[in-house]
Amino acid sequence: MRRLSDEQTKIFFEKLTKYIGTNVKLLLDRPDGAYCFREMKRRVYYLSERILKLSENLNEEQLVSVGTCFGKFTKTNKFLLQITALTYLAPYAQYKVWIKPSAEQQFLYGNHINKAGLGRITENTPQHQGVVVLSMSDVPLGFGVTSKSTADCKLADPLVTVCFHQADIGEYVRSEDTLI
């Protein structure tokens, strides 16, 4: 368990700001105690200092997971967000996509969202923007990246992909063993 290196910090926050923008600062500067990001076996965990102190008693082999896993660094040093990060992405997300109940299942099975399934979208969402996907009743289902801006969505065909799937809560069942 160690601090993120300078390079890793940069890569990590660049990814995070794509989804929650300036709200990243709120994750770092919390009124309810000190929280920090730590790296272990190329995974990034978000945890409070209190838990950090407790976890320091264990070595890497013994510690499977601590705090909330945000994702992992790939071998080529890119950062991939994981569905477990949704807890922190959903409340701070700047751009959101709501999907119709009929498209919910499709999304939860790992498919992209097409125009027909799109219920609502934040205004002025640019293209290739990280968005949090919610159901019409405001339940966060996952996150993805828009393939079209809001304006282009209006003119798109019903079968055109509007938002690329990245992670969904179905993964808790589908890839239970790899989620830490």
């Binding site: 300078d6 940069k10 926050f13 600062k25 770092l28 801006s149």
Partner: protein
């Protein structure tokens, strides 16, 4: 009768003088004739010991020595040059060692490696068949050297080298380098066995150094600039040498970078701020959208816009690209105007 009595009395007196050779003990003593040693397991008679220590111990010793001598006399004796000699049997008592046990030899670096890898020493043949020479050649020693000389009467110069290179000299140099390297390794082994700190020898040369040594050397060389190698270009995927003691060799990197835990947060916020600032402040997409919308709204308000036609307005002035000049020193008051046109 008197004589008999006298003799008997005298003998009794003699017997009193010489103590008996028969000694009785509660527990049998252990006699080790090989060491000429006797060990008495019996307890001391405490009362007698307290009465007269010296006398008691003397008696006890005498008795035990008597037993030892009795034992010797039981052995087979022979006469040698007017002396009676007994041959002592093998010692049975295990004496404790006088000196401490010798320490096992500290294994050399190679021995450690070989053990870890399970490499066993192979017995080499003393002589091997040489195809080229057509005879048996020694694997080492002066005979081998001779054979080598016989074999290498001519050496090829590789194409990538200068044709005038002395390959014989080169071969000699390489050999001496290997010898030197081995000597350093030997010294290092001795130093390690005696736990002596020795300065680092560096690497012998490019040709006999290991890849790791070269990597370390390259890293050190790279960081040996005024700016501690900060502005040196890196190859793709190049990594700095790591390992025990490498960091100490790199100038300026001796101290480990420590992050104050209280500063971690502010540092990270700084990084985030930098990332956020990097983004373009003008959202081009948004600007274009707004522009488009405004244009659309305007178009909807006045659907038919008059096209401008006809000549330009009367007041339009003609400007030439040339810089206007004055009258070049000639006054032309009639023409009006006051000198050069000032803008």
């Amino acid at each position: 009768m008197d004589i008999v009595k006298e003799v008997l009395a005298k003998q009794a007196k003699d017997l009193e003088k010489y103590k008996t050779i028969n000694v009785e003990k509660h527990e049998e003593v252990k006699v080790d004739l090989g060491h000429l040693m006797i060990s008495d397991p019996n307890n001391f008679d405490e009362n007698a010991l307290r009465d007269n220590v010296e006398q008691y111990l003397l008696n006890l010793t005498r008795e035990n020595v008597q037993l030892l001598v009795n034992g010797i006399w039981e052995l087979q004796t022979e006469r040698l040059d007017e002396h009676i000699v007994a041959k002592l049997p093998k010692a049975s008592f295990a004496l404790p060692r006088a000196r401490k046990l010798p320490q096992p030899k500290v294994p050399t670096k190679w021995e450690q490696f070989a053990k870890a890898k399970g490499i066993k020493k192979r017995q080499k043949d003393k002589k091997v068949w040489d195809e080229e020479l057509g005879k048996w050649v020694a694997t080492y020693g002066f005979q081998r050297f001779k054979a080598e000389k016989e074999k290498d009467w001519v050496l090829e110069v590789p194409q990538n080298l200068d044709p005038m290179t002395d390959m014989f000299q080169k071969k000699k140099d390489l050999k001496s380098e290997r010898v030197a390297k081995n000597e350093i390794a030997r010294m290092k082994n001795i130093a390690r066995a005696q736990k002596v700190q020795v300065p680092r020898a560096g690497f012998v040369s490019e040709e006999s150094a290991s890849a790791k040594d070269l990597h370390v050397a390259a890293t050190i060389a790279k960081s040996s600039t005024a700016s501690v190698g900060k502005f040196q270009e890196k190859l793709p995927k190049e990594k700095d040498a790591r390992g025990i003691g490498v960091r100490e060799l790199i100038p300026g990197s001796k101290r480990k970078r420590t992050i104050d835990p209280s500063q971690e947060k502010s540092q990270q916020i700084e990084v985030v701020q930098r990332i956020l600032n990097k983004r373009p402040k003008i959202d081009v997409d948004k600007a274009v959208q707004i522009q488009k919308r405004e244009a659309r709204e305007e178009r909807e308000k006045n659907p038919i816009e008059k096209k401008r036609t006809g000549s330009k307005s009367k007041h339009a002035k003609k400007f030439s690209s040339k810089k206007p000049k004055g009258a070049m020193g000639n006054r032309k008051p009639k023409k009006g105007g006051a000198g050069r046109k000032r803008r």
